[in-house]
């Protein structure tokens, strides 16, 4: 069909071709603004919009595709990061736990260093009583570690309780706030003797203090050693509040040891009195190497 049209209008086609040829000839000679030849100007003007449209299209398509791929990658990466975050959180909790354990062990070590004369055994709390009214717990030291009944269990902060049951590899500890517990005690300020008993509440009480005795909140309470279980002058706690009653005052005690958060304790293998020394958080005296405290596995007692 095009051939037919061209042959039918041959002169006109030739005219158009001849004029076009001369226009092109002119375009190669004429220079426009900025000394650019017209043919180049036309070529650029012709191709630039096409290139612009092409670039715009590719940019849009690329953007959409990139967005789609990015969205998919973001979803996958989000899941991966979430998983990694969970792992890191777990790791963080693990490290925090290890750090806390390290602090506790450091406390035990300092205490052990401060009292080299006393035989003591580090133990880890492995369980508690299933009875909510019973304040007892289990430690990972037992008969094989030469643990016996009625041995004192303490922490560097203060008295925890005493051994009431001994098993081959574990022992049960009766806490000082248990109803069955009783500890010979005295007021540090006046040296007035009494007995610290559990009441079933988180805080134990001190009995047998007459109303005439002046007791104030914050007064320190120590072991008296009269029960032949706890060495003398171990901190039991501080007076939380005291009120007169008949026949004795009712004195509530804030325990020195954190009885509700116990993880590591010391079992005193003797009732030898501990000499109070202030060496916490300090280097070992005379470069002495203290006996290692094993909290993980049962071991031989330290004498």
């Amino acid at each position: 069909m095009p051939d037919t049209i061209i042959s039918r209008h041959r002169p006109l086609s030739l005219l158009a071709a001849l004029i076009l040829a001369q226009v092109l000839l002119l375009a190669f000679q004429i220079k426009r603004e900025n000394n650019i030849r017209l043919v180049r100007y036309w070529t650029v003007q012709t191709f630039t919009p096409v290139e612009r449209v092409g670039t715009w299209s590719f940019s849009k398509i690329g953007g959409i595709w990139g967005g789609y791929i990015g969205l998919r990658n973001a979803r996958t990466e989000n899941a991966r990061l979430q998983k990694e975050l969970d792992q890191l959180r777990m790791r963080n909790r693990e490290l925090e736990s290890q750090a806390a354990e390290g602090q506790r062990l450091a406390g035990l070590l300092n205490f052990r260093t401060a009292h080299p004369e006393a035989s003591m055994l580090a133990a880890e709390v492995i369980g508690a009583s299933a009875d909510p009214t019973s304040h007892t717990l289990f430690i990972n030291r037992g008969e094989r570690d030469h643990v016996r009944r009625n041995l004192a269990v303490i922490t560097p902060e203060g008295v925890v309780g005493k051994i009431v049951e001994v098993f081959p590899t574990s022992s049960q500890v009766l806490l000082i706030n248990d109803k069955e517990s009783g500890v010979g005690a005295l007021l540090a300020g006046t040296r007035t003797h009494g007995v610290v008993k559990g009441s079933g509440d988180p805080n134990p009480r001190m009995d047998y203090i007459v109303n005439d005795e002046k007791v104030q909140a914050g007064d320190k309470i120590l072991t008296s050693g009269e029960d032949h279980i706890f060495p003398k002058d171990l901190p039991i706690g501080t007076v939380e509040r005291a009120k007169p009653a008949s026949p004795f005052q009712i004195i509530s005690i804030e325990p020195a040891a954190r009885l509700d958060r116990l993880e590591d304790v010391l079992v005193l293998l003797t009732q030898q009195e501990l000499t109070p020394k202030k060496t916490e958080e300090s280097p070992m005296p005379n470069g002495a190497n203290p006996a290692p405290i094993n909290t993980a596995a049962p071991s031989a007692p330290h004498h």
């Binding site: 005219l15 004029i19 226009v23």
Partner: protein, 177 residues
């Protein structure tokens, strides 16, 4: 070119196609261009008449073949551009290509032997040539060139008058065979 322009017997519409002596067409074209360039030295008189345009029109209407007419116009125009000092090649070429095509087409349809019709034809084609020139200059060169002025009107009248005389002289170059 000369062979193409001096052969052929009849056009498509059976109007008589004139033949010229061999070499007459290129020689006349050459002389028209030379004379135009020569007369240009004498200033304004040369600007009143466009001899290459007259030759293009004459051979276009005489040959009555649009193809040969446009090629003759293109050749004359390009040479005219080449002889000018500042015109880009193709400026007059386009205008005279169009004039050659139109004059050949017109010559194949109407009688162009009468002096009056020749005068009118030259007058119209002069302005057509000027319009094509102006459009080309405006579009391609971005230069303003008038399409019609009183001066151009005077030029067209003078050129048409001279063209009638020139055409009569050129008629003598026709071959009798």
């Amino acid at each position: 070119m000369s062979t193409m322009l001096s052969t052929g017997v009849r056009s498509e519409s059976n109007i008589e196609v004139h033949k010229y002596y061999n070499g007459a067409v290129p020689l006349v074209c050459f002389l028209a261009l030379v004379l135009q360039a020569f007369l240009h030295k004498y200033g304004r008189f040369a600007e009143l008449v466009d001899l290459p345009l007259l030759v293009t029109i004459y051979f276009g209407v005489s040959r009555r073949n649009p193809v040969s007419g446009m090629f003759l116009g293109a050749t004359i125009g390009i040479v005219q551009d080449a002889l000018s000092h500042d015109n880009p090649i193709g400026l007059y070429g386009i205008a005279k290509t169009c004039v050659g095509y139109v004059s050949s087409s017109v010559g194949a349809r109407i009688d162009t032997e009468h002096p009056v019709s020749r005068f009118g034809l030259i007058f119209v084609l002069f302005h057509f040539h000027q319009v094509v020139l102006a459009v080309t200059e405006r579009v391609l060169l971005a230069r303003t060139m008038p399409m019609f002025t009183l001066r151009l009107l005077l030029d067209s009248v003078v050129t048409a008058g001279i063209g009638v005389v020139l055409f009569a002289l050129l008629d003598r170059l026709r071959s009798r065979h």
